[in-house]
């Protein structure tokens, strides 16, 4: 009897955890991806606040940082941490500038593979661009109470070494990325939540200066 009750309870717990989460079939997935593509194509600029939370497996502790983000399509991005440290990452076409309280560096993305990848990850996560690059990720779209999220499983060796999966959650109207959750192979989880997003408002060009 004890075994039966335990089995029942375990089944119940598992049932609850996956209840309401549905993986879309190929046709439904294509429709959702199309909606996202239309929305991202019409996004010329975006600015928002963000909160980044890193859960470190080894320490059972969370690191929380926050800042602001500016994006100007197709390849200008300012990702600025304000708390608890100041750090500014600016991507302007092929150049990246990194500014901390101690140092400033300018890097040519073409000549630096690591920064090329980093820039791509940030840019594509924010814009949902990863969903188009089927060469890099296996994409699954999930629906939970009409909130859609994309589960990306890396295909390439280099990304596989870093990430187990990347989960991108969208707002209800599929026009905006809301959360990006990166599960690392080490068990650490980094989540970035975008808030107070404003789309297609003019952004000062000087924010993307790299020199």
């Amino acid at each position: 009897m004890m075994k039966r009750v335990t089995f029942l309870l375990i089944s119940l717990f598992i049932g609850v955890s996956v209840m309401g989460q549905t993986k879309l079939n190929a046709q439904q997935q294509e429709q959702v991806l199309q909606k996202i593509n239309v929305a991202t194509a019409s996004m010329k600029t975006m600015q928002c606040d963000f909160v980044q939370t890193k859960k470190i497996k080894l320490m059972k502790k969370e690191m929380v940082s926050s800042g602001v983000m500016y994006y100007d399509s197709p390849n200008k991005l300012r990702w600025q941490y304000n708390k608890p440290y100041v750090y500014v990452f600016v991507l302007n076409k092929e150049k990246v500038s990194l500014k901390s309280s101690k140092t400033t560096q300018t890097i040519d993305v073409k000549e630096n593979k690591m920064f090329r990848q980093l820039s791509n990850i940030i840019l594509n996560s924010v814009t949902g661009g990863h969903l188009k690059s089927s060469a890099e990720f296996e994409v699954e779209i999930w629906n939970s109470n009409n909130i859609y999220s994309a589960l990306l499983i890396p295909k390439k060796k280099e990304l596989k070494k870093l990430y187990k999966s990347i989960e991108i959650s969208f707002n209800a109207s599929l026009t905006m990325v809301e959360t990006v959750k990166m599960v690392e192979t080490t068990g650490d989880i980094t989540s970035v939540t975008l808030k107070n997003a404003k789309v297609n408002l003019p952004i000062r060009e000087s924010l993307f200066n790299v020199n």
Partner: protein
């Protein structure tokens, strides 16, 4: 006579509660016994600079676990210090070479042994490594052999 189901359910729920409690214990223990330390870190080696964050938990017994990540949260490596031994693990691919791991491990050993005790008026020098506290509060560690400078800046706001 058939046994009632309720004692079994109760036993099962007790078991689950106990399991949940056990699961929560490490977090509770960590909060009570450890002091988190957070630093901004700048590593300068051969005209190249890497910046990031160093977060560590030090237990009352002096054991340390921590991690170094870049500002985006990408892990550079994890480290631990216990019984006078330092281990590093989960090293990011570009640094994951045996000779680099050895340099990092030895430098981290020196850093972890001394960083919490360093004072303005007393530099620490051991072999090829030295540590000093600068007037702005930063702690600078210099590996003379490989010409690597580590600068640790204590973060004021809790993460």
């Amino acid at each position: 006579m058939q046994k009632s189901i309720f004692p079994s359910v109760r036993a099962c729920l007790t078991l689950i509660s106990f399991a949940l409690l056990l699961n929560a214990l490490p977090c509770m223990a960590q909060k009570a016994d450890s002091i988190p330390e957070e630093y901004g870190i700048l590593i300068n080696a051969k005209d190249r600079e890497i910046s990031g964050l160093c977060v560590m938990d030090r237990s009352n017994e002096g054991n340390i676990v921590g991690t170094i990540v870049n500002e985006f949260g990408i892990k550079i490596f994890d480290f631990s210090y216990s019984h006078n031994k330092t281990r590093i693990q989960n090293v990011i691919a570009p640094l994951d070479r045996w000779y680099l791991r050895r340099i990092i491990r030895k430098d981290m050993h020196f850093i972890l042994e001394n960083i919490s005790n360093i004072t303005y008026d007393h530099d620490v020098v051991t072999g090829m490594r030295s540590m000093k506290k600068k007037t702005n509060g930063d702690v600078e560690i210099y590996n003379r052999r490989y010409k690597i400078i580590y600068t640790f800046t204590k973060l004021k706001t809790a993460l």
